[in-house]
Symmetry: C2
Subunit: 310 residues, 2 copies
Amino acid sequence: MSLIVTGTIGIDTIHTPGGENREAVLGGSAAYFAAAASFYQTVRMVAVVGDDFPSEHMRTLGKFKGIDTGGLEVRKGSKTFRWGGKYAENMDHRDTMFTELGVLLEKPPTVPAEFKDSAFVFLANTAPAVQMQMLEQFPKRVMAVADTMDLWIDTARADLEELIRRVDGLVLNYDEAELFAGKKNTIRAAKKILELGPKFVVVKKGEHGCLFIHRDGIAAMPAYPAEEVVDPTGAGDTFAGGMMGHIARASARGISHVPTSFDVVRKALAHGTVMASFNIESFSLERLATLKHEEIDRRFDEFVELTSVS
Amino acid sequence: MSLIVTGTIGIDTIHTPGGENREAVLGGSAAYFAAAASFYQTVRMVAVVGDDFPSEHMRTLGKFKGIDTGGLEVRKGSKTFRWGGKYAENMDHRDTMFTELGVLLEKPPTVPAEFKDSAFVFLANTAPAVQMQMLEQFPKRVMAVADTMDLWIDTARADLEELIRRVDGLVLNYDEAELFAGKKNTIRAAKKILELGPKFVVVKKGEHGCLFIHRDGIAAMPAYPAEEVVDPTGAGDTFAGGMMGHIARASARGISHVPTSFDVVRKALAHGTVMASFNIESFSLERLATLKHEEIDRRFDEFVELTSVS
């Protein structure tokens, strides 16, 4: 069934502790998500950039044959969202060097009429008020999942709570779940979030894997054991892209109905893990842009092998 | 095949952030390990306490039918090792309130002659020099595994390196692996340790599970998703007890030869995870003392289910 992502497309500057840095590379939550999901099935993308958006980045997005860029708006006279981040030595923490919201301060992108029947909706990280506005435009959705971050917990909590009430699932980081819920235990933090209404919470723990806490049960997974992390930017969004891509594909193939079975969910988490593991091997979307389906299959099998008990 | 543990038996004082505290409860690396391993097969225990060791604690050890206490020495005129720890709010960090080494400053316990043919040897955490002395007394060993901690990395590094050269496997915490190896990536840290000679390193990550890094491959596992942590003391030792208990039992049953297969290792890590998950539900050995085999089987099946991708 149809999959859509709304979120940001940005121009990123990334500084890493090894001293390797990149200026003005393609980034943004929707870009990372869509690139990963595109390996599973067509993913519609709704996002807005300014007319300063480099044609080189547009070409990069075009390399992902599974991305339908019909909802990518290039707004005249506006500036593309820019962000700069600097990673700490062990790559598990980053400081924002600068944020230029640009076009994100203006009205959100328009959802094309032909996208309004979307079934699986992923609201990639952006202001919760914008996520809600987007959500309302997909009346035929069967599953809506939102990603968020500490910034919105701190500055837009009421909006975020309202958003969480309206979605089926929430994706957020380990420390953000605990921050939001005021609980020092991840499971209890996630269960507190479930009280607001969603069916499940996916807690991303970076190098420590993920937890999927559903009203009806829990799934847990380690990360792929990566020795080399070049740039973790987008790991969470590519994780979500692999996860939602697999769920939408399984649904399209009639393997699973909504609500999705735990079997499908665990496979989806593993696909998310695999996509994130490729993403962190390079800056920006470089690795995903050259990724082959055989590589995904091989790493998926390897990951299943190294975690399987039976 | 026969399994033996050498290490400490102590009297612990535990303070938790919830305000629940316990004074003078049974603890120590060998006690926790043996209690957990005893559910898998008989485990020989070599340790020394003073004549102040409470008979109540001796009775608790006696409740574990699978522990052979033939190597538990009660030394006249000596004082049992005492330790006090205070946990931080999220239970993932603790401060030592006091350490009274007592009998640990004297000569190590004597290994009974009938224990000298032990095949699987676990050197639970204590000074590396003592661990080496113990190791030499098991000439027929087929697999020796040592646990260690940051204290020895900081204060007895040369001894520790020598110990690591002589064992088949090393068990240590996540941050300790990185501290020892000077690498900010766990896999790379473990691989650096492998250069010293052991075949594998088991990295314990507490609530984030564990990694098993072998010369020939890697296994990864999340923790059991525990909502309530009463007292994490001994989690690492009970993890090791379940792991080694399963490996020794599989070997005794002829399921696996040494070197052990990855299938057996992954099951062993899952058993370690399950035993640790029970241990943290209570202070001291209280939960393990009432634990039933059916409970272990049930949680093992549940754990396999919530992590399995296939």
